[in-house]
């Protein structure tokens, strides 16, 4: 799986993958990652041993639109802090990770949600919290099935700004930023054109056809 990803998406850049339908990437990941898990640990998941699924999880992040995500903690900030702690195979984040989680929530403009239960959020808020929890585990690749779905224009802009500043954010946490792979629809240019034309970003954004 990671050989495939690094071949088609070398880690030096970020990628925009054209989808024919909004759920192309979601369907692919459901088929390759989600469904095979139920078959048991003797099976393979996208070419990897199923019993090593946690390794896949630590190296790959996914922000789906059509899968109801699961949270494990009572507050948003603890959820993000736990995701930060997962890099050391720890279940629960400590005080410094909670501080970092607050910083990340502020960066994406949802610090007012820090004390809320992640199960009582709107669709867009849930998506942002899930995105942060995936970013916080600092994977090699972070795939966002379709970024604008469920988000207001203001939140799309905040999220795009976060993506463009991801390296700086990662520098602050003394880690390396993930390589982003974003699904897009050709007709919906209003959000992704900014990424390609953004001069301040360290890494270049490259358009790709749907190759999953």
């Amino acid at each position: 799986m990671f050989t495939y990803l690094s071949k088609h998406f070398p880690r030096s850049h970020h990628y925009l993958v054209e989808e024919r339908r909004q759920d192309d990437i979601d369907n692919f990941f459901i088929e390759k990652l989600f469904d095979p898990f139920g078959k048991g640990s003797k099976h393979t998941i996208w070419g990897e041993q199923a019993r090593e699924f946690s390794i896949i999880g630590s190296r790959l992040g996914w922000v789906p639109d059509h899968v109801q995500v699961v949270f494990f903690r009572e507050t948003v900030e603890h959820e993000i802090a736990d995701a930060l702690a997962s890099k050391q195979n720890r279940l629960v984040g400590e005080e410094n990770e909670i501080e970092q989680a607050r910083f990340l929530l502020e960066q994406i403009g949802i610090s007012d949600l820090s004390g809320q239960n992640p199960y009582f959020l709107s669709q867009g808020e849930t998506k942002l919290v899930w995105f942060l929890s995936q970013w916080a585990k600092l994977p090699d690749y972070l795939v966002i099935s379709y970024l604008p779905a469920g988000l207001s224009q203001q939140r799309i802009n905040r999220l795009l700004a976060f993506l463009l500043n991801s390296e700086k954010m990662a520098d602050f946490l003394k880690v390396s930023s993930p390589t982003f792979v974003l699904g897009y629809l050709d007709h919906d240019k209003r959000w992704y054109e900014n990424l390609i034309s953004e001069p301040n970003s360290k890494s270049r954004w490259i358009k790709r056809n749907f190759i999953f």
Binding site: F53, I55, G57, S58, F72, L91
Partner: protein
């Protein structure tokens, strides 16, 4: 040996055998799957049942090491009875999980149960497969976070279980509120009471099963 061949085992064993035959008759193609699940759950529950041996220290001593008595007849009898009861519950849950929701509703309506009670039973039974699928999903998400559960300490494994239970609780609350809303929107629980027009035609097999269940009940009282 009398502790094992006690007549009190007869009724539970008959009930368990009856339910197993019922599973075999209703889902012959899935019987091997049922047997596999029966063995897996049965082994787990056997360990739990055998804990009775520690706490029930009455009756004759069946096994001792030196002068220290380990297994008492009452403890063994209770352990066997408990295991059979667990397995009866398992077989019942297995059967209920495979009955179509609407057929169950029609049957309970035919049996004269009130609509509210039927729906309450139905939602409770349908919650079991939902919880199983949500538990699998929770485990997927926990591992997808990068957590290697087998490498966790015992304390962290307990913590992981707590986190899984938390997401199960939240999803169940969500499921129940959606189910309640869906039922209300369909008019169930309206002031004048909802009526199901369709009836459940009882077949010979239904009468046969009810007769057999009644016979086992009467036999249970007599023995």
């Amino acid at each position: 040996m009398w502790a094992i061949f006690d007549i009190r085992f007869m009724m539970p064993i008959l009930w368990l055998a009856f339910l197993c035959v019922l599973v075999a008759l209703t889902n012959p193609s899935e019987f091997s799957m049922f047997l596999r699940r029966f063995t897996q759950i049965g082994s787990l529950l056997l360990v739990m049942s055998l804990l009775q041996l520690i706490f029930r220290r009455e009756g004759k001593v069946l096994f001792a090491i030196g002068n220290f008595p380990l297994v008492f007849s009452e403890g063994l009898r209770e352990a066997i009875l408990l295991w059979i009861r667990f397995m009866i519950l398992f077989a019942l849950a297995y059967l209920f999980a495979r009955i179509s929701t609407f057929k169950f509703l029609l049957f309970s309506n035919k049996a004269g149960l009130s609509l509210n009670l039927s729906l309450l039973l139905l939602i409770t039974f349908k919650l079991i497969p939902f919880i199983v699928s949500e538990a699998k999903k929770g485990l997927w998400f926990l591992r997808f976070r990068g957590i290697n559960i087998s490498n966790l300490s015992l304390r962290d494994k307990v913590l992981a279980m707590r986190q899984l239970l938390f997401c199960l609780l939240m999803r169940s609350v969500d499921y129940v509120s959606y189910s309640a809303l869906a039922l209300e929107l369909r008019g169930y629980g309206a002031t004048n009471g909802g009526k199901i027009q369709q009836t459940y035609p009882l077949r010979v097999l239904d009468f046969g099963l009810m007769g057999l269940a009644l016979f086992l009940d009467i036999l249970g009282f007599l023995i």
